[in-house]
Amino acid sequence: MSADFWSSSQRNKWQLTRHSLLEARRKVLLLERKMIQNGLIKDYPNIHYDYNMRIYLHNLLIKLGRRLNIRQVALATAEIYLSRFLTRVSLKEINVYILVTTCLYVACKIEECPQHIRLILNEARNLWPEYIPHDLTKLAEFEFYLIEEMDSFLFLHHPYKSLIQIRDFLNENTSLYGLTLTDDELQNAWSLINDSYITDLHLLLPPHIIAVASIYITIVLKKNLSSIRVNNGSSSNNGHNNSSVFNRNTDSGAMHIDDLMILANPPGSGAAQNISSTAKTFQDMKLDEETIKINKFMNFLDHSHINLDEVVEALQDMINIYVLWNRYNEQSVKKALQIMLLNRQ
């Protein structure tokens, strides 16, 4: 149902487990091998659906979205379409540029901000002239195949709404939890969600889990940041990075990769205890404003019946993006795709 995630198709038809996702990807690889053996496609060993590729696809989508001034929710919907599609289809049998364009075209319709097919196509052609046909029927044709591949389940719930709900709930219950989110924190959490679409999380977890994880990272990071600032002065900036979080590098409240790395590997603790141990560590420290805030948020989580194991799972993947983003090599993906697509007969 559309008002309710728990009875939605997103939950009941399209929520995968790590295992079933792995299984689906294995199937795609098998299919790929079979098609190569049968001469239906050529093999391009440099094409993988790895983090490099995913960051690349994510960036394609964002570039096109920006040109068309498309709202974040529609972009997010397109991102999930993209990841759903690629659980069933091999990169080697499609043209990802048409795929990205089609995902955005359909997402805009579903989110009630439709863009004219010709407009989307023209913008995509401006960005990637060698890969996008002039003929709009090609895009319209792909629309059918995209929807078919998703079994026509198109409605989605996103963490943005959960984030706002949590913010509002905390605002309404300050007497209970003594905790509110500042606009900066909200913006940070929002940006973390934007980047989370690179991961598999949206195929695996309910949106509110991802929202909670984004708040957690935001609050804890702010704490780390201020202590790092005190200890080391300023830390180094990483180079070019398209992440929405790090775009704000210049402003003093922005986050740093190093902080996230620390967060990803808290000294001497197993992954599953991340949250509690981090919280404990902080309890031992001087009770400054931020530490109190973290404790208050932990208190809220304790009361919320939110599945903390899932939150930890989300945290790890979300933080991991930035580690991988550091190693991201756009040129290698671009090149590999170019070789494959331009050789396709």
Binding site: M1, S2, A3, S7, S8, S9, K13, M35, L40, R71, V73, R88, V89, S90, K92, E93, I94, N95, I98, Y105, V106, C108, K109, I110, E111, E112, C113, P114, Q115, H116, I117, R118, L119, E130, Y131, P133, D135, L136, T137, K138, L139, A140, E141, F142, E143, F144, Y145, I147, E148, E149, D151, S152, F153, L154, F155, K161, L341, L342, R344, Q345
Partner: protein, 450 residues
């Protein structure tokens, strides 16, 4: 220069086309129920179980489809290409059949697909499957033998024989139940009218045709921007006639009020004539003076007392200039005239036909209205105790070729609706930018009776 083949869907398309099951391998077409510019609705029955299992393996997931062969279905086929006739080139194959191109799924079709996939309620037509094949979309619904238009017609022709109170009550309650479900899910229907209210042979209401329905929470743009005109004219709420940009689900309740009145009197209560949109100026929507006139003749001329926000609507000036007579409220007399006696029923009708959308009954409030609490009780089977049998839906068998993409004449009069005075534009999305996803220019005047 890039070779042409990279600009296509590539090997993927080839693979999919090889393995796709045809709609005809799962369903046997019996005939068609209705046709319009959107496409056609066919009656079909499922073939044997094995073919269904095959379909499942190929990814056509069946949600809750019964597997008994012989089960009946209504298959709504959307034509993919509604604008081909406007284009300069007419392509025909060797047999003179039109060659259809992909042009993008209409906003209306994509709404209906995505919403129906999520909704599961006793009083909403159940979507069984969606098949995308050969540039067409097939939505497979459970088949319903009746609809309210047909039932009202049966009771008014050749001689008038009123629908029994208990049946009306059960029908309206079930409609409200379905509408409540929609509204709870932040969806409004926006095209409620007798033709879109199906009834199964065991008397269960099934609200159908969600082609104009959409989610209304957090719209990214004003509802008006999306669709300039919604709801078939006779069932259109007064705030819509006044050009409301941000209307609410209460527009559906007005329509339910009109349907209740029609079940009682067997005639549309506000049978206005639609002012046509100026073809040369599609952006401006005319003020529907005649429709408004029909409403005030029964309900009285609204004023700032019974509708405080009246002067805030965009068309308030037109309203002031063109509606000059001051009618007194007359619903009570109307009710007497049509032979109504039940006081609670009148109260419910009043509550639904309230001018001010803020005061109008909401769906869940209407569900517990005193009318439904007194005897006779609401029945799950609205036909219970009825000593008559409604005729079965008429099926036309002159075109059973569901796969054919031959153009359906845009001026095609809907078969199966012998009620010519009724606006039968349930799917008349002629102007609904069928192939551009409802861009900015094409989406005017979706609800225009012929």
């Amino acid at each position: 220069m890039a070779s042409n083949s990279i600009l296509t869907l590539g090997p993927f398309k080839h693979r999919k086309d090889l393995t796709r099951e045809s709609v005809l391998s799962t369903y046997q077409i019996i005939g068609y129920i209705a046709a319009g510019t959107y496409g056609k609705v066919y009656k079909a029955k499922s073939k044997n179980i094995t073919s269904k299992d095959n379909a499942n393996q190929n990814g056509n997931s069946n949600i809750g489809a019964g597997n008994n062969s012989g089960q009946l279905f209504a298959i709504k086929k959307f034509k993919s290409d509604n604008h081909s006739s406007k284009q300069t080139h007419h392509n025909h194959d060797i047999n003179g059949n039109e060659i259809v191109h992909y042009t993008g799924i209409s906003q209306s079709a994509i709404r209906e697909m995505s919403l129906c996939r999520e909704l599961n309620n006793k009083n909403i037509t159940k979507l069984v499957d969606i098949i995308l094949e050969n540039k067409s979309i097939y939505m497979i619904f459970e088949f319903c033998e009746h609809d309210l238009l047909q039932i009202i017609h049966y009771h008014s022709h050749p001689e008038v024989k009123p629908i029994p109170q208990s049946t009306i009550k059960s029908l309206i309650w079930q409609i409200l139940n379905g509408v409540t479900f929609l509204h709870q899910n932040w969806i409004f229907h926006r095209d409620l009218k007798p033709a879109n209210i199906m009834v199964s042979s065991n008397g269960v209401v099934k609200i159908g045709d969600l082609g104009l329905a959409r989610k209304f929470n957090n719209p990214l743009q004003s509802l008006y921007t999306g669709d300039k005109v919604v709801v078939t004219i006779w069932y259109r709420a007064p705030e819509l006639l006044l050009g409301a940009r941000h209307y609410t689900p209460s527009i559906d309740l007005w329509a339910v009020g009109c349907i209740l009145a029609e079940l009682l009197s067997l005639r549309p209560i506000f049978k206005g004539e639609e002012a046509k949109i100026d073809i040369n100026n599609k952006k401006s929507v005319p003020f529907q003076k005649n429709q408004f006139q029909k409403i005030i003749e029964v309900l009285g001329t609204p004023n700032l007392k019974n509708w405080p926000s009246l002067n805030k609507y965009p068309e308030f000036v037109s309203f002031q200039q063109q509606i000059t007579t001051n009618y007194p409220p007359n619903l009570v007399n109307w009710y007497k005239m049509i032979g109504g006696t039940n006081k609670q029923c009148l109260e419910l009708l009043k509550g639904l036909l309230e001018y001010d959308p803020l005061i109008r009954l909401t769906a869940d409030n209407a569900l517990v209205h005193s009318y439904f609490l007194e005897l006779p009780k609401v029945q799950e089977n609205a036909f219970d105790g009825l000593n008559l049998k409604y005729p079965k839906r008429r099926i036309y068998t002159d075109d059973n070729d569901i796969l054919s993409n031959n153009a359906i004449n845009p001026n095609f009069k809907r078969h199966g609706a012998p009620y010519d005075d009724h606006p039968n534009n349930s799917n008349n999305n002629t102007n609904n930018a069928p192939n551009n996803g409802g861009g900015n220019a094409g989406n005017v005047a979706r609800k225009r009776p012929r």
